[in-house]
């Protein structure tokens, strides 16, 4: 099978039939956008739930996260695919089972699944900033808004952005689950192409297209990770710090003084 990879005729034929690939690429991108939005919204909500004092909200968040993290995405999606239409029929009182569009199935599937992971990321991010930070900032005369803007949120984002990026990456890859339910996404179209022509080229093209989406996200994640490990620079905050640039210089001076001596 592998020797066919070097056959120029096969490559020409593949490139002449790129239409379905780009269509699938578009479907995958749309599912990613919708799924990511859902995962971030629901995940943030559940993450905040798990840090509240209410035992009920914490319980809801816990059960949701454990269920979605411990069962496979393909089973969840297949469940919605098989039982969903009949559920909707019962709920809406329609005469026939209500068909769920593949796009909705994919977006819901990966969105709900990754919301569980996003919720855990948000929870750790919130818990990682000690309460003392808040109290210390307020005792230094920061207003509540300033405390969040300059003290708490920068620390939270630093912690949650790299893992969130990782989740986005996994979400893109997991949209391929749609291929199992004939969802018309990139994976499905490529597999169709390969079964139709018997050319391995279809998978190579598919691989490249996923790589185009995922590699920038992976690079962004690595950059964010490096940045989050770097030491923070002193910032100028109007009305809080002294005149511009005075504190960073103050931090540098002892080191240069030591070198000269």
């Amino acid at each position: 099978m592998l020797e066919g990879l070097l056959d120029p005729r096969r490559w020409t034929l593949t490139f002449e039939n790129m239409g379905p690939f780009w269509e699938g690429f578009g479907v995958t991108l749309k599912v990613v956008a919708a799924g990511l939005a859902l995962a971030l919204l629901l995940g943030t909500l559940l993450g905040v739930f798990s840090t509240t004092r209410s035992r009920i909200l914490r319980g809801i968040s816990r059960v949701y996260v454990e269920f979605y993290q411990n069962t496979p995405l393909p089973v969840q999606v297949l469940f919605m695919y098989m039982a969903g239409p009949q559920f909707l029929q019962v709920m809406t009182g329609a005469a026939q089972p209500v068909r769920i569009a593949p796009f909705a199935l994919g977006a819901l599937g990966v969105g709900l699944y990754h919301a569980a992971y996003v919720a855990e990321v948000i929870r750790t991010g919130i818990e990682a900033v000690p309460r003392g930070q808040m109290e210390a900032a307020q005792s230094q005369g920061f207003s509540r808004l300033q405390t969040y803007a300059y003290i708490v949120l920068p620390q939270t984002f630093k912690i949650i952005l790299p893992p969130l990026c990782n989740q986005a990456l996994n979400l893109v890859k997991n949209t391929s689950v749609l291929a199992l339910v004939a969802g018309g996404d990139l994976m499905y179209r490529s597999d169709n192409f390969v079964s139709l022509y018997g050319f391995l080229q279809g998978y190579i093209v598919c691989c490249l297209m996923y790589f185009i989406i995922c590699f920038p996200i992976a690079m962004l994640g690595q950059w964010l990770e490096r940045r989050s490990k770097a030491r923070p620079r002193a910032k100028v905050i109007p009305g809080v710090t002294d005149a511009a640039g005075s504190s960073p210089e103050g931090a540098v001076r002892p080191a240069t003084a030591g070198k000269e001596a």
Binding site: N70, T71, P74, V75, Q86, S176, L180, C206
Partner: protein, 212 residues
């Protein structure tokens, strides 16, 4: 028709056992390959480091299902072999990153101390560095086990008779929504029990380490 009769149940559970077999084999193979990759990426000569980095990035940025289909299309063999090969290919890239994070977490002094005591590179790795590395990465490693178990359900896409596939075969005979729901309840419950059990074990281990 009764859906949970003895024949169906034996068939479905056979799939569950196959899921576990494939997962265990894949995990073992990917830990071995992943460790080698991580060592090469950390200590190997330059060109090999680049090769390993390219391998890791390639598999990190493409879906699991793609490689399952790819291997299914190119390699002949029994289902367990094909499945394990596909999963090892994919998971060892993830394992390499996990092991590398562990290697970085072992203090550099350990390496220097071992070498000053006359340990060679391989002896240092075998007796000093890797045991500590694996202790550090145990939670992440078992987390990856859960991922492999869950992702093994993608194998139903190439008709490997694992848990999700066998359930789907039985599901085709379900006549009412009740039966479909019961079957899914059963599948979710078993997957959940297995994965949640693993995560409970990891949590207990972490508490033990934290207490020590």
């Amino acid at each position: 028709m009764e859906i949970f009769n003895a024949t169906n149940l034996v068939y479905i559970l056979g799939g569950f056992i196959k899921t576990i077999e494939i997962s265990v084999l894949s995990i073992i193979c990917s830990v071995v390959v992943g460790t080698v990759l991580a060592l090469v990426k950390s200590y190997g000569p330059r060109p090999f480091r680049w090769l390993v980095s390219a391998y890791i990035e390639l598999f990190r940025c493409t879906p699991n299902l793609l490689w399952i289909l790819f291997i299914y299309f190119t390699v002949q063999g029994i289902d367990i072999f094909i499945s394990t090969l596909a999963f090892t290919l994919f998971t060892s890239a993830v394992m390499a990153e996990i092991v590398r994070a562990g290697l970085n977490a072992v203090p550099a002094g350990q390496f220097e101390a071992a070498q000053s005591q006359g340990f060679g590179f391989f002896a240092t790795m075998r007796y000093i560095i890797l045991p500590q590395t694996f202790r550090i990465i145990t939670p992440a490693l078992f987390g990856q086990c859960t991922t492999v178990i869950k992702d093994s359900s993608y194998l139903s896409g190439i008709n490997v008779a694992e848990f999700m596939y066998t359930t789907n075969v039985v599901m085709a005979h379900a006549v009412s929504l009740d039966q479909v729901l019961m079957l899914y309840g059963f599948v979710f419950a078993l997957y959940f029990a297995l994965n949640f059990g693993i995560s409970l074990l990891v949590r207990r281990y972490q508490r033990k380490v934290a207490a020590a």
